[in-house]
Subunit: 318 residues, 4 copies
């Protein structure tokens, strides 16, 4: 039922990763059922078949980029829509089963993307430690707790869960790294516009020509729709055939985005609507920034031009 908050959440597990931490920032999730899934496809399948109301999965990271499996799952299968985004600072800690001087840490378990994001810190502080790749941040914490390695790079949430001791905090080379998560549900009428919304789309373009992408961007530009993200993903068919994932400014209920969507529908071989939802204004700077508006392309301009057309069509004074 539209408007009813979800009560059964699924998220990319295992427990103790950043995704669980992100889920805990959503008020409705706090007193709801929260089930970890073994993979993004498994999380989305739970929503598709009705075993869960909403799934939280990572979408992109400001250092590592898009999460391919999430895009691939959103672009295929029965449609799902994003109803909310969560942007979470990525903080890594170095943790160990017991308090240990850094100098005596010889082995560190880490997910490869985690160790990549902490490379500078590791070289400066533990140049002689051996870093061993493991399959998730949570697995690193578990392995350190089990004594398989002297320490682990993991998310803060992994520390209490595994009864670890923090040896060093905020060890990522980029202090401002963030991960963006999407909360996905089955299609339903979107919540009303807030004035600062994002609309996500997946576009299939028939040919790999520069002209086709130019046409797509022109449909957006003439309506003053901006892009905050564009990603291409292969369709699996052959090199050079892509699905494009776009995040656009605006909400499907607004005339200008509605008009742009119709334009894309006409020129693309397929357009999949992935939801309109409030923008997470994730940085202090972003929160203080006035919302951009383009002369002639504000919602007011669209309302004015629609009223003018109505007058013209009825033969009234313009």
């Amino acid at each position: 039922m539209p408007g009813t908050p979800p009560t059964r959440f699924v998220y990319l597990g295992p427990e103790g990763t950043f995704t669980e931490q992100a889920l805990r920032t959503i008020p409705a999730a706090e007193h709801a059922v929260r089930t970890p899934a073994r993979s993004v496809p498994e999380a989305l399948e739970a929503v598709r078949v009705g075993d869960a109301d909403a799934a939280l999965v990572p979408l992109e990271n400001s250092v590592g980029g898009a999460v391919p499996v999430t895009l691939d799952e959103l672009g295929t299968g029965s449609p799902l829509v994003i109803t909310r985004e969560v942007v979470l600072p990525v903080e890594f800690v170095l943790a160990s089963a017991s308090l240990t001087p850094l100098a005596s840490v010889r082995s560190v378990a880490a997910h490869p993307q985690a160790s990549a994001q902490c490379r500078g810190w590791l070289q400066a502080n533990m140049p002689d430690a051996v870093v061993v790749d493991v399959l998730s941040n949570a697995a690193a914490a578990v392995a350190a707790a089990a004594g398989e390695f002297d320490a682990a790079i993991c998310a803060p949430i992994g520390v209490p869960r595994n009864n670890l001791t923090v040896l060093a905090e905020k060890i990522a080379d980029r202090a401002d790294a963030v991960t963006r998560f999407a909360l996905l549900s089955r299609p339903a009428p979107p919540a009303p516009p807030t004035g600062d919304d994002v609309t996500s789309l997946a576009l299939m373009i028939d040919h790999d020509r520069v002209g086709a992408l130019l046409a797509v961007l022109t449909e957006l530009a003439v309506r003053g729709i901006n892009l905050s993200r564009i990603e291409s993903r292969p369709t699996g068919e052959q090199l050079g055939v892509y699905v494009f994932f776009l995040d656009c400014t605006g909400h499907i209920a607004e005339p200008r985005l509605g008009e742009a969507l119709q334009g894309l529908r006409r020129i693309c071989s397929d357009v999949r609507f992935l939801g309109s939802y409030p923008k997470h204004r994730w940085s202090k700077k972003a929160r203080e920034e006035p919302l951009p508006s383009q002369p002639g392309l504000t919602n007011t301009d669209f309302a004015d031009s629609a009223a003018w057309l109505t007058r013209l069509r009825s033969g009234e004074p313009a």
Copy 2:
């Protein structure tokens, strides 16, 4: 009252010019009052103040180009709309007060544009005759009838009116020259689309930048609107500041033209709607040509994309 055919017509006089001939091709004009005006501004003023229901004035000629005074009058003053276009082949005759061998014709009265369009014929057939400029085709006929000149170049309609004798027919160098006339009325709801309509517009652009004109054309192109005419006229303010007159394919009642009009309204400093009316398919070739339609930009595509948007907004399956 919308839909009532006009009963009082005014046209660019004097009697006996191509404009009167064009007016006679409109069935409703045959049994109506037809009053010649001394100038285009006078004709339009008669409609504006309510002394006439409709005015027929020349808009452009396939050899001589736009008729500046008509454009200038349409772009300023209280709004008028084109409800019909008439395209008339321009045929010039050489006529005289009495039957005379060409060899003995020494002086020919002609409007400069008329003599220009017959230059080749004159050089080939009467190389020694002196051509004297007069102020209209009708004035040429009158002067020949009065014996001021041996002959006149005039419209066929000028012959019986002045009791002249035709010395030579179809003397224009271009056999296929045509003039396009516009029937103008006070604003009223336009007649419904026929499927092959024209919409005329006057656009004011703030700056003389190539980017502004590019933006205008883009608004049309993304909706599959084509241009059959674009003319610039000075605004009188300074060199380089123009009003653009456009004839577009389509009808204001159609979604795609309506959307394009709204786009122009948003980006131009002023848009004046000059009417939607059936296209005069003036040549046999043109009448036989199928109407063009662009993949993805037909009226059906616009209807389909609007229905799709409605489904998305309500959360229904796309």
Copy 3:
């Protein structure tokens, strides 16, 4: 021989019109042979066949717009190039054979465009005078001198020539109206750029599609070339087939205009180069305005990008 100033000038006559007045502003013309021509085609023909070195003809007027015959002549026949533009304020005087009170002037001879530009003044100052159309400003002055009419609207230069007396000065409704003239020669290497030049072009476009004009403007826009004028003229073939006349910012010797010209050559069915010449900065405001320059599209940016490409092609550090 390139660089030799012309010594034999022809201009649109008769003597005593604005064109002669414009010619007298060119220093080289002062001590040269100056021959009036009866028409624009006759003036250009004199240059084409070598009877004159240069022809001065009107190109456009800030109130009346383009001069069609000049555009049509430039777009056809053997090529000519503009080597200089002259912009002249259009001042009309009311003159008479002898000093006469305005109240007793009953008939005024005037070229229709001249009386149109003085309409407001005439209504305010001589509401009862009859205005009679004649074929040129010079003809009006001649007729007034001959006593055929009580007065004439003419150019200041017509006054001493016909021994007339000025009854009123500056009677045009727009005080700032100007006419732009072009000095035309046979093709020769253009004078070097001054930094504020104009390049004139005539373009033939295969089809009447909005896309073709969009492509033309895009070729200019991507090189930062602006338009100060765009005019369409019929080719005489049928309605809707045009030659476009463009005045662009820049000089053919500059890389960015050269690149844009090549682009137009590739996409248009024909491009006729009509000359690169210094811009007449005709108003005080225009003379004081800094020359516009677009970030990334200055001549320096073009030189920088060319040098960068050379380094890349040779495998040197970028």
Copy 4:
């Protein structure tokens, strides 16, 4: 020294992966030194510091998409250029330490991307086997050889190296999946055009506006340059700030690509040239396809328009 084939190759290891298999398809590599690197950064570093002449690393996969670490490494650090691309069909085998019936295989080691590409086959043929994630295809083969798991999904090259027995061949769900590899060297003059070349670029755009990307595509489109790939990668600074990686048709030595590159240089905040190299026409269909050419935008058209400009500039007949 330009033109000298590289003699010291480095490639993404370990031995026995698809990258080694791809390297063996390059004739010059067959009799050269081939050193595996532990990571893409290590491989590129070896070339940058001069320890190797060329590095082969994976760039993208038709199912899995771009290889992020390769893009990130190419977009930063001292410049490297692609001198060759290799496209290799991706074939997975199921292999074991000894011949075993499928029904008795209970555990399968596999890199997550490998098991994802074989998901359908696994469900159909071994629905009850447990798939265990490991860190590379080579690691899977090693683990199976060591008896840690009953079988491994690996590249064919992993079989002889680890003395394994093949239980099933071509088990990928998509029979036509390919991986594209790039051979990277220090900057040097590129080999001459072959007529069917690719040019790779990394572009930094100042703002995240749709207009900036539109401008980039327009620079390409007006010169008839097509895209075969466009990928965005975060710069690490914040969400929404990207480096774009483009593969364009054409060669830097060709005028039209040279002109487009200069245009990109002028409008982007940074352009990194990543090499011009022959296109690997990887499929039979692709090899048989005629090379596309756009009317007005062929290399011949560019040569013609350059010659025309030269004539105009010298005042010669066009």
